[in-house]
């Protein structure tokens, strides 16, 4: 892969790491990247092996798959097993364990479960199969919610009645608050979620410095974006500043995407509360379909059990999501809980902190010590 891309230039990486080293000095600082996309970039490019010991990255709750509680997965499987239903889902959700099986198992047992890349694909399947009910398992933060909203508007406009959405969209600010409220938390700053911010802008994060005294830098998704955002956090700390800054200026506007926000408001309303894997119930942290879209709401059209399932006792996903422990500090990490047999959702998605660490990070400190000749 020959990336001439300016955001992946190894020389720029070395220069930026030198800056980070000088700015951090002999402190030990912990920054949380909120977004699962950042976690993925960090592991994919081996960023942690480049960082000095003085800067540690904590992988936050921004993986949309990782925060879905087991009860909701069970509800999804129940929907998938309704006679005549085609159940559509992003690939990431397929292996997420419910209380005793996942969507892949349901598919193997005869449920018609199909992987899609976008809710519009699900709508197309509905149009092509007018005699079947097509349900879309909607997950994700404000990043993916607008595409679900657009799909619902299209479904309504085209009068496609055999399509519905099982809505599990969540919002980023409430869990961020929950993490900041956690008494056992020690963080020195945040890398703000770039994709979510393209929709909601930077203003919603102002409470982070104002109320909790932590700097936040909205970061892009190329490896150099991450390093530059760390530099910006370190400069704030050096200068005694504490504010919201935007590294991802090429995509994120302070006010966000007004059109997307308007569509979100048109289709969704805030749920009074929603359960998050490992974080428990967080009030006003998720979206549901507005009354006007009741006909396309799978939760109203079909009966879903809605049974709350407690997280497995051995699983410490909650502590991992809050950054209280590292993935490898979890009692079951790597033995009972592996990517093949995940107990917690953090192990399922490639963006989950545990799976990312298991797949990409286990040997980083050792690997970094291995002398490697230039290729």
């Amino acid at each position: 892969m020959r990336f001439v891309d300016e955001y992946r230039d190894p020389a720029a990486a070395r220069a930026t790491v030198a800056q980070i080293e000088a700015l951090a000095g002999d402190r030990h600082l912990k920054f949380m990247e909120v977004c699962g996309g950042h976690t993925h970039t960090i592991y994919k490019h081996g960023i942690e092996t480049l960082l000095p010991d003085s800067v540690e990255l904590i992988h936050g709750p921004g993986c949309p798959v990782c925060v879905i509680p087991m009860g909701r997965v069970d509800d999804g499987i129940t929907l998938a097993e309704q006679p005549g239903v085609i159940f559509t889902s992003f690939g990431d959700m397929m292996r997420v364990p419910g209380s005793n099986r996942n969507l892949l198992d349901a598919k193997a047992r005869g449920a018609d479960v199909r992987m899609v890349y976008s809710p519009l694909d699900a709508l197309r399947i509905a149009r092509d199969n007018p005699d079947r009910q097509v349900v879309f398992f909607a997950i994700g933060f404000e990043t993916t919610a607008p595409s679900t909203a657009v799909t619902l508007l299209k479904a309504r406009a085209a009068g496609i009645a055999n399509f519905s959405v099982f809505c599990n969209h969540v919002t980023i600010v409430p869990p961020l608050k929950a993490i900041l409220e956690s008494p056992d938390l020690r963080l020195d700053g945040f890398l703000g979620p770039g994709h979510v911010s393209t929709v909601i802008g930077n203003r919603p994060y102002r409470f982070v410095p104002a109320e909790y005294g932590k700097p936040l830098v909205t970061a892009g998704f190329e490896p150099l974006d991450i390093l530059q955002s760390i530099v910006m956090l370190l400069r704030q700390i050096r200068d005694g500043r504490c504010e919201v800054e935007n590294q991802y200026t090429r995509a994120v506007k302070d006010q966000g995407n007004l059109r997307a926000l308007q569509i979100l408001g048109e289709v969704f309303e805030v749920r009074p509360h929603f359960e998050w894997r490992g974080l428990g119930f967080i009030s006003q942290s998720a979206l549901k379909l507005r009354e006007e879209f009741a006909d396309w709401d799978a939760e109203l059209r079909f009966s879903v059990p809605g049974v709350r399932v407690a997280d497995p006792k051995a699983c410490q996903c909650g502590e991992v999501l809050k950054g209280v422990i590292k993935p490898w500090e979890c009692k079951v990490f790597g033995t009972a809980c592996t990517p093949e047999t995940p107990i917690g959702t953090c192990m399922v998605s490639s963006e989950g902190a545990c799976a990312a660490y298991y797949n990409y990070g286990r040997f980083n400190t050792k690997a970094a010590r291995i002398p490697v000749t230039a290729g």
């Binding site: 892969m1 020959r2 990336f3 992946r8 190894p10 990486a13 030990h28 912990k30 699962g36 592991y43 994919k44 490019h45 081996g46 960023i47 942690e48 092996t49 480049l50 000095p52 003085s54 540690e56 992003f90 690939g91 990431d92 397929m94 292996r95 892949l104 598919k107 193997a108 047992r109 992987m115 890349y117 976008s118 694909d121 997950i139 933060f141 990043t143 056992d184 994709h195 490896p223 422990i325 590292k326 490898w328 500090e329 990490f333 790597g334 990517p339 093949e340 660490y357 797949n359 990409y360 990070g361 040997f363 980083n364 400190t365 050792k366 690997a367 970094a368 291995i370 490697v372 290729g375």
Partner: protein, 370 residues
């Protein structure tokens, strides 16, 4: 990962992390367990679940010395002293026709390439067809013509076959199974166990063309790209390579699971550590772009006309020159090297300058959503 825990700076933590890592490694080395009650698609994707199924069901039932290495082809030693490479493969690709080839080409190339990876010259093939009732004879003719064309190109004859027709709905159109035999020339002995620290890892061309071409041809992704399958017979390329670099240690065609998977299989079989260099991986721009959009890694994407070779360092140049001199190896590159420690592990130096582990895939390469 620098340090863990809440209170930074205490010296014993990294060693605790190392202990956890060692425990995980020990756990990983155990035989893959098969916990499922039913077969799902992950069992056919070539990753860990496939290994668990094959080892726990098939190896358990058929166990013998020839099968045990679980290579793509078996090595048969005859009483006369001659050695044969013998392999079989089934082809269920969807769609059956894609840019660069069809299931007919694959059915020939897939099997002759498995035979060629033992250094053999593929000679004979058998072909068995499972056909769904209602299948168009015209398309069957087309696919048979593709097979004939591929066999002629590979220098093999299709010498025996079988045909079964099943009820409408009992199969998805057409499945083809081929088996192939080739003779291994005297003096050729390719074996993972001969791989040593210091050896070089080469690939014969650009990665991921086949997998991406098929994914795009399915038309479900809403993206198009100018990517054609690389399906091709590798017997000639192998012969040229072995003539130029007779000490070549090991060959493998990185089909399902891609280069990442075959490197992991080698690291485990040879108990060596493999270091790849991302900046040296030959990947076409369109393939890279599609992979970025789909959230998959070209290292894990299937190839049907490429080989991975391990050669001793002193034959690296000769091997590379021989590959590049062949039309199928024009984009050949040295992509990594073999180290001793830690055994069984593949890592990659990223283009950005970091390192990461390249592990076996767990299931299908599931796309990421954001």
């Amino acid at each position: 990962m620098s340090q863990g825990g809440d209170e930074g700076g205490d010296g014993h933590r990294p060693s605790r992390e190392d202990i956890v890592r060692d425990r995980i490694e020990a756990f990983r080395r155990r035989r893959p367990r098969l916990l499922d009650d039913t077969v799902n698609l992950a069992h056919g994707a070539g990753g860990k679940a496939s290994a668990a199924l094959v080892e726990n069901v098939f190896l358990e039932a058929f166990r013998n010395e020839t099968l045990e290495p679980l290579g793509d082809a078996a090595l048969l030693a005859l009483a006369s002293g001659e050695r044969l490479a013998f392999s079989t493969d089934s082809f269920v690709v969807k769609p059956r026709h894609f840019p660069g080839g069809s299931v007919g080409h694959l059915a020939v190339h897939g099997t002759v390439n498995d035979v060629a990876m033992l250094g053999a010259r593929p000679a004979w093939l058998t072909a068995a067809f499972v056909i769904e009732e209602g299948f168009a004879i015209a398309e069957l003719r087309e696919i048979a013509a593709d097979m004939a064309e591929a066999a002629a190109g590979a220098g093999v004859a299709i010498v025996s076959g079988d045909t079964k027709v099943v009820d409408k709905g009992a199969a998805d159109g057409l499945y083809i199974t081929t088996a192939g035999i080739g003779v291994i020339p005297a003096g050729v002995a390719l074996d993972a166990r001969s791989v040593r620290a210091g050896d070089k890892v080469l690939v014969s061309g650009r990665l991921g063309d086949h997998g991406v071409a098929v994914m795009l041809a399915r038309g479900e992704l809403g993206i198009t790209g100018d990517v054609a399958s690389d399906t091709a017979p590798l017997g000639g390329l192998v012969a040229d390579l072995l003539a130029a670099a007779p000490a070549t240690r090991w060959l493998r065609d990185p089909t399902r699971g891609g280069v990442a998977t075959v490197c992991n299989e080698l690291a485990r079989a040879a108990e060596v550590h493999i270091v790849l260099h991302e900046a040296d991986l030959p990947v076409a721009k369109a393939v890279n772009g599609a992979c970025e959009i789909l959230g998959i890694d070209p290292l894990y994407v299937a190839n049907e006309g490429k080989l991975v070779a391990v050669v001793p360092a002193d034959q690296e140049e000769a091997a590379l020159a021989a590959l590049r001199a062949h039309p199928l190896g024009a984009d050949a590159a040295v992509i990594g090297e073999v180290h001793a420690e830690p055994p069984g592990v593949v890592i990659i130096r990223t283009g950005f300058g970091g390192t990461r582990i390249v592990d076996m895939l767990v299931g299908d390469p599931l796309p990421r959503i954001c």
